[in-house]
Symmetry: C3
Subunit: 344 residues, 3 copies
């Protein structure tokens, strides 16, 4: 990429696709179809934006084969425009490189090993026997407990807590405010009081895991809480102790998963869904936003359970009827018994 | 205000209203009707507290015109007692003034500009090219990224993260643990894996915005996430990337708003409500607590969708019947067809 | 406990129960039935794990009287195996002792009193007139405001905020990221704008309270927000201003309780439940996960309100029927009127 941007011919060379237009046109930044200008690359991956596509002023647009002739300007035809755009955008917007080395204000225990190319911001504390691998970036104000291992190339933003003995994989991203490895919620009842159960497990994050802002993942009670490779967690997600989240599962914001539940691989959990404890969800289960899952699900598919919203007045009437649902069922049955259908 | 408090006559002079009682009586603090004593001011703005009003020992009570004769002691009659009380309380309880200047333990980048009257607590980091305007108070342990702008008179409490390039308006309040401007949750699927989309937008907060404790607001993917002036967000609210929240909208605790959704002005969103992504809610939409909004709403009004709670035994029966609702509808229709109403 | 572990005879001596097996066998750690080996203690408290019990390799298993002969190896028979295990585990896994004294990087106001045996980690700020009692452990990066009192033996982990004037009892545990005492969400409407109500109350935590990671508890508007002794709050719980949570109540993750609501003693609130404001729940009320409570509940018992989840296709049909529920009720009534049951 030159100061004047990257040529479209270079994009084709690097990422493939078919260019219709000027191979020497150069772009420098990304934008939406509506806000793009001549030095921007944009994309169109959904039919509903065809009108925006038609009127865009983008320097180049990445489009699906079916949309190859909607836009008159430069376009790149690709099978998966969104994925293609993701790669172009990553090229144009590399992660800012933080200052290498350990900020003088931070506290690194003498027994901690810090790899080459690590960047540790101000006001961090890093405990005894930690192993921070090469090219790890840790923003300021992080609290890393004893015996924590962090894999190469991982980026941890500001104000993250990682409790002792946690393991973080390679190339992970952990956003600000996340808490990894706090005590699981385990108490034994003792005559109306609660006695705390020591939580002796760990949290283990695989490679390429992303953890959202203010998300919390508790360490296991006895065994470990495990987040497998490629899992993506949005903000304010809560993962209880002993959970296992299968590889490449994506979990949207405000989701809670209670203790000892296991999710399969490539699941998708919609925002604010809640999954009760001690359940198993198979591979490829998709849960709609706001749904509460109270039983295990073996079969892949989409599962939903949300009372549909309505204008408050209508809701009030229907919600009242709902309390008599079993009774309504009985009354229908009674009518049917008294008047049996002659066709049956 | 003298050490011995503020005279009722002075309140009337400053805030209006009608005083019934002793203009020389002085008050020093605020209290509820039940706990107030002779040097306290209290208020009554709801009919259900009339009994507390009657038996209060407050030095003065602010009451609505309809309640002017319920309390025998000093009272101030005002059209909006709660608002009047808010102003009196702000007079009696000014924000504590933190120590001016920059705490010596904090790290302020040499290129950052800090306005007059700023107060920056201990263990803060403030990045390159920040512009912190006059009279800004930043509590300790805050992580402010590069190129952040913070408007005059804003108060930021302890342990707040503000990512690079965010813009905060004037007279905002940001409570502890909030995270402003973290990466939006954007990934493109690539054969069962997720490829991260760089999030190049910003978060822009208007003037007089309040952000609750541990609330998170993600920065935009391409355009900005915008919180307009006067918006009030409670604790543990999650705002996804590219959202726009209209002016003076109030959002209660634990609400999640998924990406690219737009709320109009003066909306009110009840606690734990969830709003799906890519929706538009018009001005003046009121959403009941716990409701999941899955479609756009054009018209102002109250919208609700919560399954009514019941004793578990009754719920179990009704929830079972619910799974056969479509079937019940069919059976009613079948009965009606076999026995058409002669009046129809 | 010797380096070679603790003998089973010593456990019986300390905690009671009946030993069947070798009193000289020594254990050093805890494990699940499946992962335990000869130096581990495990337990079985639910019928569904009987198969694991039968095949366990644990050095000793704590079992209920009914399961005394399922396992062939060493076992301890106890009335409450989970509670017994909690005590053994606490013996084997004592809290790690942090370094005593005040880390040199921390800022303690000269007027703050710090008790004997206190351990204060790096990058803490402790305000004026605080009283930190004996044997308190405060992890790094904590922000403790002015006039805060913390009782003896309390453990506060990293990155916790405690606002001015809060009171924390004895032997409490506060996990990372919690925010105690932030401003309650109180605004008076003023012609389409919001005017902030000063929040002059405090947060008061009783003895033996546990607060989860990233949990928030707002201080009272006028009176205090009170969490009574022995209450256990999981992660990402939100408690609004003026609430009172009764002694020994347990609240699971992601629960929100709106302002001025009171819970009785020994309640149990399931994960992601939401309780509206200004309500009263009596002693011993149990709320199922995900339930929204919108009315006060006097009577102890289990309360539930969650739309049951289904495969999306089936849900779509039933949810559509739900919008016509009141109409269905009317149609059943009409049929019944036209065809009165001769038995009635």
């Amino acid at each position: 990429m030159t100061p004047s941007g990257i040529r479209l011919a270079a994009l084709i060379e690097q990422f493939g696709g078919e260019l219709i237009g000027d191979p020497d046109h150069a772009i420098v930044s990304v934008a939406t179809l509506r806000s793009a200008s001549a030095t921007d690359v944009s994309f169109c991956h959904r039919g509903k934006y065809l009108d925006d596509l038609r009127h865009s002023l983008a320097g180049v647009v990445i489009v699906a084969p079916g949309d190859r002739d909607v836009y008159a300007g430069n376009r790149i035809v690709a099978d998966n425009p969104y994925l293609y755009f993701a790669r172009v955008s990553a090229l144009l917007n590399p992660d800012p490189k933080p200052a290498l080395g350990i900020d003088s204000s931070s506290r690194v225990h003498p027994t901690a090993r810090i790899g080459a190319g690590a960047a540790i911001g101000p006001f961090c504390s890093i405990g005894a026997n930690c192993h921070i691998d090469d090219d790890v970036a840790i923003g300021g104000h992080c609290a890393i407990g004893d015996h924590v291992a962090i894999g190469a190339g991982t980026r941890i933003d500001t104000r993250v807590s990682i409790y002792a003995r946690s393991v973080v994989g390679k190339r992970c991203v952990i956003l600000s405010g996340a808490v990894i490895g706090a005590d699981g919620f385990g108490f034994a009842p003792d005559g109306g009081r609660w006695v705390k159960i020591p939580q002796v497990g760990r949290v283990v994050l695989g490679d390429d895991v992303e953890i959202g802002a203010n998300t919390t993942i508790d360490r296991g009670a006895l065994d470990d809480t495990i987040i497998e490779e490629g899992v993506k967690l949005d903000n304010q997600v809560q993962i209880g102790h002993n959970c296992r989240i299968g590889a490449h599962t994506a979990i949207a914001g405000c989701v809670g998963i209670a203790g000892s539940t296991r999710l399969g691989q490539r699941c998708m959990i919609g925002g604010a869904a809640m999954i009760a404890g001690h359940l198993e969800l198979g591979d490829g289960v998709i849960v709609s936003g706001g749904t509460l899952i109270s039983k295990s699900i073996r079969e892949a598919g989409i599962y939903t359970g949300v009372y549909p919203f309505e204008q408050n007045k209508k809701w009030t009437r229907n919600a009242a009827a709902l309390r008599h649902l079993e009774d309504m069922k009985d009354r229908i049955r009674a009518l049917e018994r008294r008047f049996p259908d002659p066709k049956d």
